[in-house]
Amino acid sequence: MSEVAIVDYGINNVRSVRNAVDYCGFNPVVTHDAAAIADASHVILPGVGAFGDAMSNIRARGIDEILERHVREKGKPFLAICLGMQLLARTSEEHADGNAPYRGLGWFDADILRLQPNDPRLKIPHMGWNIVTRERDHAVLANIRDSNLAFYFVHSFAMHCNNQSDIVGWADYGQPVTAIVAKDNIVATQFHPEKSQDSGIELVGNFLRWNP
């Protein structure tokens, strides 16, 4: 049975993502090796930490080129989570402190901006269980009822898409927060499916069974 590559770019904790893949009945391998990613049936880009550091690690390990080849050119099913999703944007203003924003992979015509909820009582980070409204259907949401589309979010920055058709779902946190984006063989979630109980595990399982 082929494996599911969880891309290792030097971040602290990929344990829950690995456990979630295993729980769904697939074989996870945590790796940044080009051959292992080439052999994998599906690829997951997890993410915790800061955008700038993550992108430098990805470039230093040549992961950007590996993903470009196997995901974008060859069409391997790909799921990015939280910061992983943000890395798919063109730019991020996270910790740019007035300098030019960090450059991401640019797979989505989108930018990462700090959350600015319209209610001062709403705190940053946006942390906790929030409802996702389905903008359109997608294979990863198969068999999840709208009433169960609650997922666990922890983030201070969010994706702003220039192309509305990329958006699969959004959450309300004093502003619309892009929660799921997808195009072709690529899907990404701002929330942590690996921390979102049944609905999250269902989403991970749907992704692993997805053959776009």
């Binding site: 904790n13 705190k123 980070p125 906790g128 269980w129 009433s147 169960n148 609650a150 109980q197 595990i201």
Partner: protein, 258 residues
């Protein structure tokens, strides 16, 4: 908008699930923490809090092992604490699978630690846990070292300072009500929720479905519950349906069957 949360709170002593009344009396062994966590996972609770109440070098290793085992089969946020005093302690628990680490005594002894930990791991990772006792009608005082050492701090004032140090949330526990199932300290919850801007998890006293409603209506973001779930027939499923039926904004999940 964010949902109100139901959070079972596990106290561990030498890796066993235990429960007391008012922190020290009436010890009861309450089962295997991993098995119990799985049951609560099936009940669709929103998070788990796991606190090592008599931390030692040996117990730290057990807690790490328990969290690692829980994270193999349970996919929700974990807050873990007890004896956390260094950045390495925080790191070890995060690596084991914790999403947030709770700091209590060390925050009082060395408040700068909260800021350091928040800066290193992110504000959202650091929960400050505050235990207090009422001192007469109008005053309350913080206790550290598992309720053994009194310190001259007002719990709400202390919580506000921790917020300035960038903690992600506050876990506020009444020692007087712990294990009594007589209801939460609602005056304190009102006061704390009104003044704090970070999420407030309240602990100590929940014994009925109404108690949980009272605490959430008083402004708590989340209710931590141990005795009621361990020793009564009020399960998280029952509590969640009851809260939803009373109009409180709680998550529905496939497993909670509502």
């Amino acid at each position: 908008m964010l949902k109100k949360r139901l959070i079972p709170k596990f106290l561990l002593r030498d890796g066993r699930l235990v429960k007391y009344t008012r922190f020290f009396d009436n010890e009861r062994i309450a089962g295997n923490p991993v098995t119990t966590a799985k049951v609560y996972n099936d009940y669709g609770v929103d998070e788990l809090i796991v606190l090592d109440i008599v931390p030692s070098e040996q117990s730290r290793g057990r807690v790490v092992e328990i969290i690692e085992r829980m994270s193999e089969e349970i996919f929700m946020p974990f807050t873990v604490g007890g004896g956390v005093g260094t950045l390495e302690d925080v790191n070890r628990l995060l690596r084991a699978g914790a999403d947030k680490v709770s700091v209590n005594s060390e925050a009082v002894r060395r408040p700068e630690f909260v800021r350091e930990a928040a800066r290193t791991f992110g504000d959202q990772c650091i929960t400050v846990s505050i235990d207090y006792k009422k001192m007469g009608e109008r005053h309350a005082s913080v206790y550290i070292d598992g309720g053994r050492e009194h310190v001259a701090l007002d719990p709400v004032e202390w919580a506000l300072r921790c917020e300035d140090f960038h903690c992600g949330e506050i876990l506020l526990g009444s020692i007087d009500r712990d294990g009594t199932m007589e209801g939460y300290d609602l005056d304190m919850i009102h006061e704390a929720a009104r003044r704090l801007s970070v999420p407030l998890i309240v602990s100590g006293g929940c014994g009925s479905l109404q108690h949980a409603i009272d605490a959430l209506e008083a402004g708590a973001s989340a209710v931590a519950i141990s005795s009621m779930f361990l020793f009564t027939d009020h399960s998280p499923i029952k509590l969640r349906s009851h809260l939803a039926s009373r109009g409180l904004d709680v998550r529905t999940s496939a497993s909670s069957r509502n």
